[in-house]
Symmetry: C2
Subunit: 281 residues, 2 copies
């Protein structure tokens, strides 16, 4: 019997496993996004309408009711109350323009929702778009509990796949050169991405863009900076995040494990190589 | 020769290693917090002063300059401009009250800075307190690059320590019962913490509190909800986060590896047990 056919079958099973994992994650992201738009859409439009009414009342009171013979402290109190409302509105995800005209379209478009579910599942969580309704919060809890482990496994699997492609021999001790290569590659990826974001985001300096890339790929996600725009731009940002997280996982796997091994050898001779090799086998 | 003395030495080295790791992480958190307060303190006070001036000008213009004979659209434009400023101020971390009196004290107190560095290093990143100055952002980049791996290793080490305490025999196959126990324990920890936060945070419902605990311990950290208050309260919140992350890591280690093993056995017979045992050895 030839060895080619069983080898081919094994490769097919292997490829199929990767594909099923990727497909499941993508399907979970898209299905979740669809459900979030369904749950949050009407709640958001109601919110717009309610804040717009507050704005209209404020302007009306300021202009028509006893205008001119109002005391300074009265006007100050009105402005302070209005400022508080603005801050609450910001927390609820509104923009200044949302006050002027009651928005007819929700910020929960399919693409922004996909970006939202991506950042939840990768545990970045910028927090620029958040579920406000009770239903949305409950759904988010369950969605994250099952989705984050799935996404972690998919990213770890892809990182392993990339490591295999780099022909890292599991029997050989990891070379410092190779660890450095992965770190330099990750840093290069961040720098190039930061250059692209500097061009595409008119308000971001290079430092802002680099800071955004780093805070995203370390999954900190403060949410002071986040991308938003056309469908193409958001899809590119999602791809940027996934490739970046695969590279980060790879870097942590390669240099992290070696680091742990070195530290543990001080403590109790922990053999991280065994773990790393098990990961790669 | 007796076996007690070398055994004692080995235990001491083992304990010392854990302690050095914990000490290094705590020192890194506190030193980082101190430097962040130094860097951001003056920048923040300047910001308060500048927003307060804007507020004073707005009130002054509204009341004294050609009051009464201003057109509706003029007043509307003024209010809209003021609203935009409010939103920008919110992004810069101000509260409505910061407009009224120019704040003399920075929000970068030592305890809020420690909470900030904790949430950066655990990659939660609520984003309620963020470095605004260029120096602060550059420092944050370097701080996160070195600190996040250190914190990850410390938490993983403590999770392994807890796993060892639970006398998980590495040669024995993990029992489904034990995995369930860890998950139930984590869920119980979140539920009890959520009850405590519901009592301590007057504005949070139980759902809000549970959602906050989950979003924190999965390191998503949207930042729509975050604790802030007395030193004792913040220290308790930091302890809540660390214990929770150790439990989450333990749960992912125990049930996650088994899950990966099951999935990989479909694909290519990946032996996650080997990895898990290497982790535990």
């Amino acid at each position: 019997m030839s060895n080619i056919f069983p080898g081919f079958l094994a490769n097919l099973r292997l490829a199929l496993f990767h594909l099923v994992l990727i497909f499941a994650t993508v399907a979970y992201i898209i299905a979740g996004a669809y459900l979030f738009t369904k749950i949050e859409h009407q709640a958001e439009l109601d919110r717009y309408q309610s804040y717009h009414s507050i704005y209209k009342n404020f302007v009306h009171n300021l202009i028509y009711d006893s205008s001119g013979n109002r005391s300074v402290s009265e006007v100050e109190n009105m402005i302070d109350a209005f400022t508080s409302i603005n801050f609450r509105a910001f927390k609820d995800g509104l923009k200044p323009t949302d006050f002027l005209v009651p928005q007819e379209t929700s910020r929960w478009s399919m693409i922004s929702a996909i970006f939202f579910t991506t950042t939840v599942l990768t545990s970045i969580g910028y927090g620029n778009l958040i579920p406000i309704s009770t239903g949305g919060k409950i759904f988010c809890v369950g969605y994250a509990i099952f989705g984050i482990p799935l996404t972690l496994v998919t990213i770890a699997d892809l990182a392993k796949f990339v490591a295999d492609m780099l022909i890292m021999d599991p029997t050989e001790d990891p070379k410092t050169g190779r660890q450095l290569l992965v770190l330099v590659f990750l840093l290069g990826y961040m720098t190039i991405s930061a250059c692209v974001y500097t061009i595409l985001e008119p308000m971001w300096s290079f430092l802002d863009s680099f800071y955004f890339c780093l805070v995203s790929l370390l999954t900190v996600g403060f949410g002071d900076l986040y991308p938003s725009g056309t469908v193409e731009y958001m899809l590119c940002s999602i791809v940027f995040i996934f490739i970046g997280l695969i590279l980060t996982t790879l870097a942590v796997d390669v240099s992290g494990s070696v680091g742990i091994a070195k530290m543990h050898s001080i403590g109790r001779g922990f053999d991280a190589m065994k773990m790393l090799n098990a990961l790669r086998s």
